[in-house]
């Protein structure tokens, strides 16, 4: 039986959140398929990295440890991944839909001549009957993602050009420890046998990585605005309310595209996925790409002029009205009633 593989991102000896989430998702797929879960991690000073990875139920872990592998650069990581995937021949490979995963996965898909589905929100295993060939395929990856225009969910499969590859955004899958004492077999990868000198032609001259301070994922309350807010200035109402409630401000893609709010605050399939205690959607119609990123909020308030806005259907409170009127009133009555 061919296995499930996860590409793990690591920086400063720490396995990325997204990779922990992917390992959990990968373990579920491997369990359904009754196969092993394998992982690969490329970076520097990775002596104890297996201790972070093993608890997710990884059976075999490939470690490439070399100073030149961190920070990430495309070509050396691609050479290593290509080598391992050709040799181990897995049936499924998962990558994070991060700036690393979205750079690497398509390059690998091209060299392996296989399919790659981007930004999946659900991964499952299922069958497919191909009418043309009259052939039944079993145990395929169902890579599901909201598609085009937002009213539909597409189930993407790949039955003939394997491995089946998918990327998943951070926050979409839940990270779950499988077994704190899980026994992982560690296999060291000989970097110099695989990566050539010319794979290091791209040089990193300067790097400024910092947390922007925006932490939507952890925020208990999110006040998010959509295109309906109308302007960057009007977004100030949202900022005021979020500050007052101890929350963060977010936006739909339409609001980001219109320049009302910064990219790093985008919520939805191509932004951040959040599960706050309270989600206030102001002037957001709620296309599925947006809902995919917030529908697991414990409570949802929708403020919208349009009674038909899809988001109203999943809201606990629907306020039919103008955000410019409603938001200041919410601020006013919160101040009045809060102790």
């Amino acid at each position: 039986m061919k296995n499930v593989f996860v590409y793990c991102e690591v920086e400063n000896q720490k396995v990325a959140e997204i990779s922990q989430e992917l390992l959990s998702a990968g373990k579920k797929l491997a369990t359904k398929l009754e196969c092993k879960l394998e992982a690969m991690v490329f970076g520097k000073e990775l002596n104890n990295i297996d201790k972070q990875i093993a608890p997710y139920g990884v059976d075999i872990l490939y470690i490439a440890d070399d100073d030149r592998l961190e920070p990430y650069r495309t070509l050396p990581h691609a050479a290593l991944a290509e080598h391992l995937l050709k040799k181990e021949d897995p049936q499924i490979v998962l990558f994070g839909a991060t700036s690393v995963g979205r750079d690497l996965a398509p390059r690998i898909a091209s060299v392996l001549n296989c399919g790659l589905t981007a930004d999946c929100t659900i991964l499952d295993i299922g069958d497919h009957f191909d009418k043309k060939e009259k052939k039944e395929y079993t145990g395929l990856l169902y890579a599901m993602r909201p598609a085009f225009g937002g009213s539909i969910m597409a189930n993407i499969i790949n039955w003939d050009m394997h491995p089946q590859m998918a990327t998943v955004r951070e926050g979409v899958m839940k990270k779950e420890i499988f077994d704190a004492n899980y026994k992982t077999e560690v296999r060291k990868v000989e970097v110099n046998d695989i990566v050539k000198e010319e794979d290091f032609v791209v040089k990193i001259i300067e790097r400024h990585i910092e947390d922007s301070g925006v932490n939507l994922k952890e925020a208990p309350i999110i006040v998010a605005g959509g295109y309906g807010i109308g302007s960057r200035e009007n977004f100030q109402h949202l900022v005021d309310l979020a500050e007052l409630l101890g929350g963060e401000v977010g936006g739909s893609r339409a609001a980001v595209d219109a320049g009302f709010i910064d990219h790093d605050r985008q919520i939805g399939q191509t932004g951040t996925t959040v599960r706050p205690k309270l989600y206030i959607a102001a002037g957001i119609s709620g296309a599925i790409q947006h809902r995919a990123g917030m529908q697991e909020a414990s409570m949802i308030i929708s403020i919208n002029n349009d009674p038909e806005a899809p988001i109203n259907k999943i809201a606990d409170y629907v306020i039919h009205g103008d955000c410019g009127e409603v938001l200041p009133k919410m601020i006013k009555y919160y101040k009045k009633n809060a102790k």
Binding site: D103, P106, H263, Q269, I300, H320, K336, N337
Partner: protein
């Protein structure tokens, strides 16, 4: 600095912000004729970076390459209006239904037909799929380095280019030998607008398919005989020497098994007005439930 040969990959995309109910066919593919189209926004940023290099090194040649149906010739005209030197269209029904793998194969066959190049520029992703895959897949097939999410070209030396990448949590400046491929991020400078003189010069640019379609006025055909630069090259499967099993649907590993309309499990929502009494009642309920406060 020596002059560069730059290819800009551009895509005509449905305007996903204005989508009607008949946007999808029952088989899950996009019903393109039913949609308004636009120049993919990230690709416009890529065009700007190319034209900016041309500003600095005037002998630089910028070629816009697009794949699509007949009406995608708009992309080539738009490229001309804004400053491109040359445009080529890849158009053949047999390319239809391509996923990113088949698309990158097709684009690379056309790039190779164009000849030597120093730089390939394309948008980071297209708004109709958001996959961001075609750039890196082309770079792999051309066996050249890729620099993704570029928002600024910092410096060009003889055979080296330095660019700044926009990452999730910061920026990174890298150097790469040329030839290389870059995908351009939406935070790069916006594309310059059309140049009036160039619009006058190129407004009658047409592909042969457009010229041969019904209702084409005679003057247009005569004009194209006199000014050959107005005829936009249109390449078929045979023109680029593509293998049939690697293009279109047959070259695409990913298939849509099913599409489902999302049925929202409607919650019991409380319907409120914007009146003070309603808002205050809601705030009080939220405080009681300890959701806020």
């Amino acid at each position: 600095m020596r002059a560069l040969k730059i290819v800009v990959l551009a895509k005509q995309v449905p305007d996903t912000r204005h989508v009607g109910p008949d946007a999808m066919r029952p088989d899950g593919t996009v019903n393109r004729p039913k949609l308004q189209t636009v120049f993919n926004p990230d690709d416009l940023h890529a065009l700007e970076l190319a034209l900016h290099i041309k500003d600095q090194i005037p002998e630089t040649k910028v070629t816009v390459l697009t794949m699509g149906p007949k009406r995608a010739a708009d992309i080539i005209r738009e490229g001309y209006y804004r400053g491109a030197d040359y445009g080529v269209m890849i158009s053949d029904k047999r390319f239809g239904g391509a996923d990113t793998l088949a698309t990158s194969y097709t684009l690379v066959k056309a790039i190779q037909k164009l000849g030597d190049f120093d730089l390939i520029l394309g948008g980071r992703q297209a708004i109709d799929g958001d996959t961001a895959q075609v750039g890196p897949q082309c770079a792999d097939k051309l066996k050249i380095p890729q620099i993704t999410y570029v928002d600024q070209i910092v410096e060009i030396k003889d055979d080296e280019i330095i660019a700044r990448r926009r990452l999730e949590k910061g920026v990174e400046t890298v150097s790469s030998p040329m030839p290389c491929l870059m995908t351009v991020h939406g935070s790069a400078p916006a594309c310059r607008s059309r140049h009036a003189k160039r619009v006058m010069k190129y407004k009658y640019a047409r592909t042969s398919t457009e010229l041969n379609s019904k209702g084409t006025e005679d003057f247009l055909i005569d004009l194209h005989k006199k000014r050959s630069y107005l005829t936009i090259p249109e390449w078929s499967v045979e023109d680029i020497g593509a293998e049939m099993e690697k293009i279109g649907l047959s070259g695409s590993p990913t298939k849509v098994k099913s599409v489902e309309s999302i049925v929202l499990t409607a919650k019991e929502s409380k319907q409120l007005s914007e009146d003070d009494a309603d808002i205050e009642m809601m705030i009080q309920e939220l405080i009681e439930k300890h959701t806020i406060g």
